[in-house]
Assembly symmetry: C2
Homo-oligomer: 342 residues x 2
Amino acid sequence: MSEDRRLDVLRAIVEDYVATREPVGSRALVERHSLGVSPATIRNDMAALEDAGLIVQPHTSAGRVPTDKGYRLFVDRLATVKPLSAPERRAIETFLEDAADLDDVVDRSVRLLAQLTHQVAVVQYPSLRRTALRHVELVPVGDRHLLVVIITDHGRVEQRTIEVPDPLDVATVARLRVRLNTAAAGRRLAELGTALSDLADDFAPVDGPLVRGVVAVVEDTLAQESEERVVLAGTANLVRGGGDFAHTISPVLEALEEQVVLLRLLGEMAEDEAAVSVRIGRETQHEGLVETSFVTTGYGGPDGGGTAVARIGSVGPLRMDYPGTIASVRAVARYLSRILAG
Amino acid sequence: MSEDRRLDVLRAIVEDYVATREPVGSRALVERHSLGVSPATIRNDMAALEDAGLIVQPHTSAGRVPTDKGYRLFVDRLATVKPLSAPERRAIETFLEDAADLDDVVDRSVRLLAQLTHQVAVVQYPSLRRTALRHVELVPVGDRHLLVVIITDHGRVEQRTIEVPDPLDVATVARLRVRLNTAAAGRRLAELGTALSDLADDFAPVDGPLVRGVVAVVEDTLAQESEERVVLAGTANLVRGGGDFAHTISPVLEALEEQVVLLRLLGEMAEDEAAVSVRIGRETQHEGLVETSFVTTGYGGPDGGGTAVARIGSVGPLRMDYPGTIASVRAVARYLSRILAG
DNA sequence: ATTGGCACTCGGTCAGAACGAGTGCCAGGA
DNA sequence: TCCTGGCACTCGTTCTGACCGAGTGCCAAT
């Protein structure tokens, strides 16, 4: 019983099941693939695959269906690359090309990916912790409030209002603005060190609370993971795809609506930022997502480099077209990176 | 045959149908409501209501179900106010109270409303066209690019990058920044008139393109309706609610994902900004939403006044609890307005 | 190691029967 | 004029039992 053929059988089962959505039996398998052996032989192989926990039969007399483990093996060792068609590539390019600002780029990317994969697409906004500060702006609002606007390298803007104990002095604010920007502009949080906290020494003691307040807000914003945002598209594909999970969409939608869940997942998948990584079923470690798989990759890093700025990905049913999804995710991430770099 | 009782019957039908999700027959009706007449009499009334197009029977021998028109009459003339419970009010208040910035307020509001109504909640970001400008900031980026940051009254921030023909002169940019802010700060788009376009006259001809470019971006941003954003929550409730439309969720999700559709609808419903307005079924004028109703109201205006800044609302199945939804939407809008004003 | 044959399991489908909820209509009564 | 009880009728729902077919596991033969 050749090991190679057994894997061929597994591949065939995955492919057929993905294509037909129905448990695949031994007869159908030999008919659709040129395996060169009889159904009976396939049955023996299938029994072995089932013992190995790679496939199961839903009912006693039904065909076989891949398990999480089966899909995992398929993705890791059996999937063959499936390059996008030329028209698809061109579509991606032109669609992303004429985006206006960062919001627009993200919006277009996520819609595009949803359409390419016919699944739910997920795009994480460029992470603040990994982007450099471009500019900090201080805008007095009334006597006791100060609006702090933080602009990052990728054009993302965050704002906070802080309350100050003493009435604001315009000159002090202006000086603080200059000092802040010379100290921080162009640097990442990690590179800032004590540069910001030392600023307070340059001001009169009476201004200490003000300076420390502003510095705290800036550092806080850059550090705060909870401020990271995720955008979705294509949730309608969850149901339109046909009775995939039909009666269990609800938990999936709930999970997807929880930014926290998505951010954790994306964070966990970031081990190798340049490569595409896949989480299958229970590997997501989330109850609502046991019947879904995630395919994600980093984007925004220098070409081929290892320092991605955020992640983009696709969520679909366990039995999704892994090679196709991987190709689409990778392609969109690549163009997205190019746009952001340009 | 008293007209009053016929309306009582309609109200009873709507209430029972909403509660049970099943067509309601004459017998069940007299049992559950003290109408003081026999089923046969009710049947006559029902026949009349059906002739009037207010109810229909799904099958020849089934109970009656309200039509769009029936719900409309119910909402307009039969619904009785259903005040929120004290705990509910307190929950709203405390939940919204400790929100940090605008994003947080909007996010909390939409989740809260989704949870209160067990439906999909929709919150429109404060409309740029109706808010006043607080501050405009210009940040040179390299030699030829200028980042324009626009901060509005409600703390919303928009940014655009523009390309300029000639290398930037820092002094000119600084001067432009000051002039822009004195001319525009605190005003709405409608109040600006030609104040901005006249600015170009104050600068050297060589700076004309720069000034006009910046002015154009500012005006464009304030005017651009497409920049208005809508946030959703509770899409999982669409399916969880039970087989409401079960096999037709897809078009609903698709419609909800299209910001354009939502913005059009919210816009159309803004006739009377202070009141709660309701769109039932086909009244939404959108194919994917024929089986859904919208309940929305404005928020952000002065208490009781007529100048709302944006809308908040709830989307649910045709047979939803209109009184309850209306109460929830109104309550959240009120607290939301208070937070924004404070 | 592969193959053909065979008995067995079991989900899906179909037809028919029984059921019951609900209606419309009509004739009689307040 | 309006209400009521009665009655025949419709029709969707549910249940049953039979049948079909896909698919399996095992075994003896090659």
